[in-house]
């Protein structure tokens, strides 16, 4: 039997491998809470897949080998703050896998990116918990001691530090000049670089196409540069937009999910650009500090239309 294929599981394994740098760097900066989230999310995802397989009377072996649930779980876990109550990642992952993926028919049938479905659900239902990011210390011991404390008695004011996008969002809503942000002091920047590395590796391996990341980054860059040049006191710098928040992760890992993206390369370019545009719009004029998840979900909605518009076109 001849073939020239790479298995679906191989594709997913490659994606999992590519998330490794970001996972390590995030754990280094934000403490073992990140690793714990990862474990909880992965475990929940596998349990949910098994439960659904049981309910649908499908042998577990035919749904598991694709590893796609693990990818969704890992991507979701790496969006979550490290000191969440432990049941929140469970709820989020279950929502992502059951509602975001399996209720639509499982692998390949979901119109939305499951990880973003879970993230958006958590963000809307638990906005306070989801926005509490500790100021990073780079010390493991701190993270462990924080983890061991009772969540309710944790002195948040003492340990939390607003992320760059939070600070910008607060300033924008208060109609103030945005604070200047030293990107190299922000742990998020280092995590973003790690995502970029993983993404470039995926590109090199041919797992993802260049169109969506390029469209997304280019659109975000063009918009932020234009507004920054127009009024640098009100609008954050282009580099801030690229390195803060979930830009890099979205560009290379979330938006590139082929299941919920359009098929034609031109449509993909447009899809990526539209996500970039939405991210900028939500960040600059919306009420959420980072709009990546909503931007992706909104464009997921448009993917079938894009496919329809590009129907029958040559490459």
């Amino acid at each position: 039997m001849i073939n020239a294929r790479r298995g679906t599981a191989d594709v997913m394994n490659n994606v999992l491998l590519a998330t490794l740098p970001a996972a390590l760097i995030a754990t280094w900066f934000y403490g073992p809470g990140i690793a714990l989230n990862l474990l909880i999310c992965c475990g929940t995802a596998l349990l949910c897949e098994a439960a659904i397989s049981l309910l649908r009377a499908r042998p577990y072996g035919t749904t598991f080998p694709d590893h796609s649930a693990l990818v969704a779980a890992v991507l979701l876990a790496l969006c979550l703050p490290p000191l969440l109550p432990l049941w929140l990642p469970v709820v989020g992952t279950a929502f992502a896998i059951v509602v975001g993926k399996q209720l639509y028919g499982g692998l390949g049938q979901n119109p939305f990116n499951p990880a973003m479905v879970g993230y958006a659900a958590l963000l809307i239902a638990f906005p306070r918990e989801m926005s509490l990011w500790p100021a990073a210390s780079g010390e493991l011991s701190w993270g462990i001691s924080a983890l061991l404390q009772d969540y309710s008695t944790l002195n948040w004011d003492a340990i939390s530090g607003a992320t760059a996008l939070d600070a910008i969002n607060i300033a924008l809503r208060a109609d103030l000049a945005i604070p200047s942000i030293a990107l190299w002091q922000q742990p998020a920047s280092f995590v973003a670089v790690a995502w970029l590395c993983g993404g470039l590796w995926l590109l090199y391996r041919g797992i993802i196409g260049w169109q969506i990341p390029l469209g997304l980054v280019a659109a975000l860059l063009v918009l932020s540069t234009a507004f920054y040049l127009g009024d640098s006191a009100r609008y954050a710098s282009p580099l801030t937009h690229l390195l803060a928040g979930a830009t890099m992760m979205t560009a290379f890992f979330i938006a590139t999910d082929p299941v919920s993206a359009p098929a034609h390369w031109q449509a993909r370019l447009l899809y990526g650009a539209a996500i970039g545009l939405l991210i900028y719009v939500i960040r600059s004029w919306g009420s959420f500090p980072d709009g990546a998840a909503f931007a992706v979900l909104l464009m997921n909605l448009c993917a079938p239309t894009l496919d329809h518009l590009w129907r029958g076109r040559r490459r």
């Binding site: 039997m1 294929r5 594709v11 390949g108 299941v259």
Partner: protein
């Protein structure tokens, strides 16, 4: 002597070619030959012999108007004629004397007709089996500028053409130039795969020695499906064929090398197509080789000749991509059996759901989006699939080869295409029926109007004379009618 440009997509496959061995082996004389009368989907040749006929090798035993000639591979007696049903064939029992018809003098292309080619039994030997004369028919009105001789065996394992070139490239060149002159092409290119450099060397050397100024060789990249007609034309001329266009529309005629070789033989001494090179290979084949086999020889004899390794075996005809499993070895070699493969049974692969990764779109040589086609056909949407250009699919199977989820895409597309054809057929018939129904309704209406108008006129004419006279006339008319019934001329009414 140039390198061709590249078409989109395709798949790099390991060649795994059976090495060329000289001299070429020949399947020994068999006791029984089942000579097929089928050319291609529903076209059958009519037997020209009777039960018990004694025939010579090369004698025409079946044919007919617009039908491809079938010839006896050796001398012997006709013992069975199956001229009805699906599996039409003539059974010949060889007498072992191997007597043949005497050769005729060489025939110049100017003196040959399409019917001659048809009678010579020439049909596409590259796998399709399409009658060569039918293919050349369109060249009569539109002579192609370029003749392409397709010696690209892009499917792995098959090496009939390489063997043919190594053994007898003179006849191939003769056939190529003969065909070029026959169709009126100005140039002729023999196309080979890049990895097949030894064949190219042989051909180039023979071209230097012989005087064929219009012939040249070209290499195309070793990439499946480089040997597919549309892709080949793209690679050689540099422009992709429009959707649904045939190579001839671009002024190109593509002919398989084995067919051209058979044509060369026939042109030289009149020997018809009664044998071909067949590659026997596969994991379970002890001595993989390419050998001459008479058309009609049993496949089982070929297998015995090449040797079968022990263990469970699946038998295939054709290459590993386009080939299909044969239920048993009882069938015979046909004009388009390129390759017989003995393989170990393949482990069935688990099919997963499509993740729309797009690998298939990257591999598709026709620039389709197979993932979208798959999606439309899963939803039973033929119009949707047609909008995604289902009819452009050439069923090469590249998408199957690269799909990470092991989805049998081309199988689904083949089904979709046949559904599509059926649907178009019924739609055409419905449109025609509607047209005729509407026309008939209009005609009936017009007739009715005419009839009413006539009656009105008659009434108007009859209203003037006094009533008594009219009554008397009517009575007289009815009496006359009763006496001699007027013939109802329904036929006239219906004109």
């Amino acid at each position: 002597m140039s390198r061709a440009s590249v078409f989109h997509g395709g798949v790099q496959l390991p060649p795994n070619k059976v090495p060329v061995q000289l001299p070429t082996a020949r399947l020994p004389l068999q006791f029984r030959y089942d000579i097929p009368l089928t050319t291609r989907g529903g076209q059958y040749s009519a037997p020209h012999v009777e039960l018990g006929s004694q025939v010579l090798g090369g004698e025409l035993i079946a044919g007919g108007r617009q039908r491809v000639g079938v010839h006896a591979p050796t001398s012997g007696t006709v013992t069975e004629i199956h001229a009805e049903g699906e599996d039409r064939r003539i059974v010949l029992i060889a007498d072992g004397e191997q007597r043949s018809l005497p050769p005729r003098a060489a025939l110049a292309p100017e003196n040959a007709t399409l019917d001659d080619l048809r009678e010579a039994g020439l049909a596409g030997m590259g796998g399709a089996g399409f009658p060569t004369a039918d293919k050349l028919n369109a060249t009569q009105q539109h002579p192609p500028k370029l003749l392409i001789i397709n010696a690209v065996e892009c499917e792995p394992q098959i090496s009939c053409d390489a063997q043919l070139i190594a053994e007898d490239c003179e006849t191939l060149l003769l056939g190529a130039d003969w065909l070029r002159r026959f169709v009126g092409a100005t140039a002729c290119k023999i196309v080979l795969e890049e990895h097949n450099s030894s064949s190219k060397k042989t051909l180039d050397r023979a071209l230097l020695q012989s005087g064929y100024p219009h012939l040249s060789t070209v290499s195309v990249p070793t990439r499946y499906p480089a040997g597919s007609e549309r892709q080949l034309v793209h690679a050689i001329t540099g422009t992709a064929l429009a959707a649904g266009a045939r190579p001839l529309d671009a002024g190109v005629l593509v002919q398989n090398a084995a067919t051209v070789h058979a044509l060369g033989r026939w042109a030289r001494d009149g020997s018809p197509l009664t044998e071909r090179l067949v590659t026997v290979t596969g994991e379970r084949c002890l001595q993989p080789q390419t050998l001459w086999c008479a058309i009609g020889a049993p496949i089982s004899a070929l297998l015995t000749h090449a040797g079968i390794a022990p263990g469970e075996t699946t038998l295939f005809q054709g290459g590993p991509v386009m080939g299909f499993a044969l239920p048993n070895a009882d069938t015979a070699i046909t004009k388009h059996s390129q390759c017989i493969r003995l393989e170990a049974p393949a482990k069935p692969l688990d099919t997963l759901a499509c993740i729309r990764c797009g690998d298939c779109a990257d591999a598709c040589p026709e620039d389709l989006l197979p993932q979208q086609l798959h999606w439309q056909l899963l939803g039973n949407s033929l119009p949707g699939a047609q909008a995604e250009r289902l009819s452009h699919c050439i069923l090469c199977g590249c998408c199957d080869l690269v799909c990470p989820s092991n989805i049998p895409l081309s199988q689904q597309f083949a089904l979709g295409k046949s559904d599509m054809r059926l649907r178009q057929h019924t739609e055409q018939r419905a449109a025609k029926a509607k047209l005729r129904f509407d026309a008939r309704a209009l005609r009936l209406e017009a007739q009715e109007r005419e009839r009413l108008a006539k009656r009105e006129k008659r009434k108007a004419g009859a209203a003037k004379p006094d009533k008594k006279k009219a009554l008397a006339e009517a009575l007289a008319r009815s009496r006359a009618k009763k006496a001699k019934p007027a013939p109802t001329d329904a036929g006239q009414k219906n004109d």
